[in-house]
């Protein structure tokens, strides 16, 4: 599904050193490493959110760095659900509206019942009609996970999905990731969470660039 060779990106001493990664269909790769070793850079390159200084990224055999910005965006819409660390919900929309937003963007009629069920599973059904500014940090992260899962993409890329969460929220997120993995979704997750890493088929350890 994803095949990356010798990808690197240098941000003036920080960033990602030359890295290879290969994710098969239904696979689960964990990425670990100290802060600043390039975990987020790697995920952003794999999802086409960032161009590498070198190397190639193939998704289903297609070199995403040769695609236009619009095509990379379309590729994410169809194939990759990406939970970024710095990602935000739209403050003007309710939790439920944020979850169904990607479907709306894709021009589909969103299945509200499916979104509500997802909220129930992630324990955010009580805040479905609240605005992001009125919910807790844990609920915020779970809403972002729900937004990605709702899109039903075959690949899930998650950057520190359980960081800054209380144990209960973290467990809910881990269980949800395991559940979608069991359903055949391919997953790459960068995390310090050893319990989450234990769910992965393989773990790549990254090291600081210098």
């Amino acid at each position: 599904m994803i095949e990356a060779r010798n990808i690197s990106r240098d941000f003036g001493g920080n960033g990602l050193g030359s890295t290879d990664i290969s994710l098969d269909k239904g696979g689960f790769i964990g990425i670990s490493g100290a802060s600043g070793c390039g975990k987020s850079t790697l995920l952003n390159i794999l999802t086409g959110m960032l161009r590498p200084d070198s190397g190639t990224v193939l998704i289903d055999g297609e070199d995403i760095n040769k695609l236009s910005s619009a095509k990379r965006t379309a590729l994410r819409a169809g194939k990759i659900g990406y939970i970024m660390q710095g990602s935000v919900l739209l403050g003007e929309l309710t939790v439920l509206e944020n979850i169904i937003l990607p479907a709306r963007i894709a021009g589909k009629t969103p299945d509200n019942a499916k979104a509500e069920k997802l909220c129930e599973k992630l324990g955010i059904d009580n805040v479905m009609n609240s605005y992001p500014s009125d919910i807790s940090g844990g609920e915020y992260r779970r809403t972002m996970l729900a937004r990605i899962l709702f899109a039903d993409t075959p690949i899930l890329v998650a950057d520190e999905p359980t960081s800054n969460l209380d144990e209960e929220s973290a467990a809910i997120v881990r269980n949800m990731i395991k559940e979608v993995h069991d359903k055949g979704v391919s997953i790459i997750a960068a995390t310090h969470d050893s319990e989450l890493l234990s769910l992965a088929d393989s773990v790549i350890q990254l090291h600081p660039l210098h």
Binding site: T73, G86, R147
Partner: protein, 394 residues
Amino acid sequence: MRTIKYALNVITYSRFRSIIVFILVFVTTVCIFGTGLFTDNIKSGADKLNGTTNTDLYIVPQEYLDSTKDMLFKGKACTILFHEDELNGIQDIQGIDVSRQLYLETLEMSCCSAGGLQIVAYDPKTDFSVRQWSDKAPELKADEILAGSASHFKIGEEVNAFGRSFKVADILEETGMGYDSSLFLTYEAADSITASLDYKFMFGQQDGLVSMLLVRQNSGSDITSLSEQINAALSGSELKVYAVDELTSGLRGNIRMLTGMVGIMDVFAFIIASVSLFAMVTVTTQQRRKVAGSLLSVGCGKGRILMMFLSEYLLLFAAGTVLGIITSLIFLLPLHDVLKTALDMPYKLISAGQAVGIAAKTLAINAGMLAAALSFTFITIMKQEPAMLTGENL
């Protein structure tokens, strides 16, 4: 519809920002449209000065020149009198049409419901001026009256002036001059007033009184030489001939000064409002870099993101522009006559088509400003890689 709904959500959610953007659009609209309409109305009045009366030369008593100007262009009522015998000298001049007018200021007496108004008497047979503003002018009867557009009389209404009752036969088109607040009656009626015993104390019980003689040359001769010819014929008299430019030169200077000052203030306010608006749109769009990055991460195209941002501003710009135009009209239209009086200079409402033109110009400037601000910011943002927009710790 979803985009509009989202835009309404954003506007409601970010009330403060929305109110500021709305106010800035409103101010720029009032600056462009309101002052544009106001100055064009003044210019429209000024443009009419030369052509309105269809007259090339005016013959008036020299000492009443200022009163004549005030009456003609500012609507200040006055009574100017000289006898028609004084005009005998010009009877032999060929190639001109002449038409006399008599200005009588109505007395604020119990007999006069039309107190404070200017009465203008004209001769329907020789008139070439009043007939431009009313089809009824050439056939006005002695017991009828024509009312100026701003005199607030209605057709068919009975008006009492100088102890006589007149029926309003027609309302004149707007002239942009003092005529708009005047009443027009026939010389026959005026003679009966000035010759009556009741007003002997005012008019000396005589007819054939004149205030101004309007001269129109019809031979294609040079106005300057015609003017010299008339002045020569009137030598020894208190009467003097004036070309329309001589009557309006001072007024035109005042108009230029006023429209210039309004224009400078307008430009100043417009620059402040538009720079603030540009800054506001730029800053608020920059603040949404994270939103743009997040939307890109979930596969939302740039065009769609632009539409989401644009729709919010479009609604605010549309609302601000429409309300600015309506407010300007609400202020300028009902207060038209008040402004006309207060301005002390010609003021004529421009046509609906011209007003629509100014509204279209306003809309185009506002739309251009929005497009410039948003495209500048949007292009700056979208040049960056999506991951950079979200502030990822890379």
